[in-house]
Amino acid sequence: MANILIYALHYEGAINKNSLGAVSEGAKLAAELGGEAHAILVGEGVDQSLAASLGNYGAKKVLVAEGPEGLAQPVVDAMGAAISNGDYKYALFGGGLLGFEIGAGLAARLGAGVAMEVTAVRAEGGELIAERPILGDSAISEIKYRSPVGIVIGRLNAFEIK
């Protein structure tokens, strides 16, 4: 199954807006691929109701991992383990400083392709194609993945909350 794992950044008891957009986008894309969108939260004593709230944005399952907040490596560890043990074809990030750090680290960990600053993603022929503006936004490059797992790092505010 073409499931998508989405990182949800949280801070002071609330989910970051970009992450909510990413979960919404991941849910839409997973449905188009015939899979499910799962979200992952990493933190110290993450509130279960906060995790459950991601269901409102389309997450079918929410994984919660214990670890220090605000650092990329604990999230790379948690997402790397989840992807290695699970059935995920893509990992999706809403952007932001941590999203870039985690997505890049995860790409290196998994030998996965990564597209960053992505402003649109579409499902085509059972796979995702990411679009990213290049050359000072004067052109848009389309990227797909040869690796078993593809990493999509969105540009800030690129994905609409639904």
Binding site: G103, A104, G111, M116, I134, A139, I140, R146
Partner: protein, 263 residues
């Protein structure tokens, strides 16, 4: 302490950047220069050396690129690096971010640095991610977009702006740090440094020299595959709100922002 600074040759700011439609790679003809963001990383290395808290034995500029990238290394040396390493091999040409990070990590591993510095992004690729890829391959902790860096004997205290506010992070060495352009004001090289740059040691290495697995690099072996490039959609015309009644105008602006979930 040994500091390696990752640098890149990029098209000069005055050159119109375009994609070669047959390869999907950037057209790199025309004037080139050292990536301006990397000059902040070299300056950060120089300030660590001059700060004297942790003795710096050597600053090494490292790049991957075609033969012409030597000029970027010369500029890096003129700005303060003691010597440079150039990974130049057709096998790595066209590598995506993940493959480039792997190749650079292999090159750095031979140097055994205590600290790897790089600019927050390249002026051409605008990826912001190479540092984290390199760090993962080297098994080092990393931080990106650092705007303040205080050095201790075996650690760094770094500040950066995240989406939720300012972070202060203590990170143990060895580590990989990408610096934001707000961290410092790069110095200008002296005429003597420019003239002497070509005389400083330059080590040119191939993929085989640094143990790169050829099946993991190059355009055909990269996990991210360029499919096509297209023009961006035309921007919608802006909406002009005439200020005839300020209270009403403010209400219209707030309503406009609210509709787009911007407030």
């Amino acid at each position: 302490m040994k500091i390696c600074v990752l640098v890149k040759e990029v098209p000069d700011a005055a050159v119109e950047k375009r994609i070669n439609s047959s390869t999907g790679r950037m057209d790199r003809s025309g004037e080139k220069n050292l990536n301006p963001y990397d000059t902040h990383a070299i300056e950060a290395a120089m300030q660590v050396r001059e700060g004297g808290v942790a003795p710096v034995e050597e600053i090494v500029a490292v790049t991957m690129g075609p033969e012409s990238a030597v000029r970027a290394l010369h500029k890096a040396v003129s700005l303060g690096a003691d010597r440079s390493v150039h990974l130049s091999d057709e096998a790595v040409a066209g590598s995506d971010v993940a493959a480039t990070g792997y190749a650079l990590a292999q090159t750095l591993d031979r140097e055994k640095p205590d600290l790897v510095l790089l600019g927050q992004q390249s002026d051409d690729g605008e990826c912001y991610t190479i540092g984290a890829v390199v760090a993962e391959h080297l098994g080092m902790p990393s931080l990106t977009q650092v705007i303040k860096m205080d050095v201790a004997a075996d650690s760094l205290r770094c500040e950066r702006q995240a989406e939720y506010g300012y972070d202060t992070v203590q990170i143990s060495l060895p580590a990989v740090i990408s610096v934001g352009d707000a961290i410092n004001e790069p110095r200008y090289p002296s005429l003597k440094a420019i003239m002497g740059a070509k005389k400083k040691p330059l080590d040119t290495v191939t993929a085989g020299d640094v143990g790169i697995d050829a099946s993991k690099v190059g355009g055909d072996n990269s996990a991210a595959q360029w499919v096509a490039a297209k023009a961006p959609p035309a921007k919608a015309a802006g909406e002009i709100i005439e200020d005839e009644d300020t209270a009403e105008t403010v209400e219209k602006i707030v309503s406009w922002l609210d509709e787009r979930k911007l407030i």
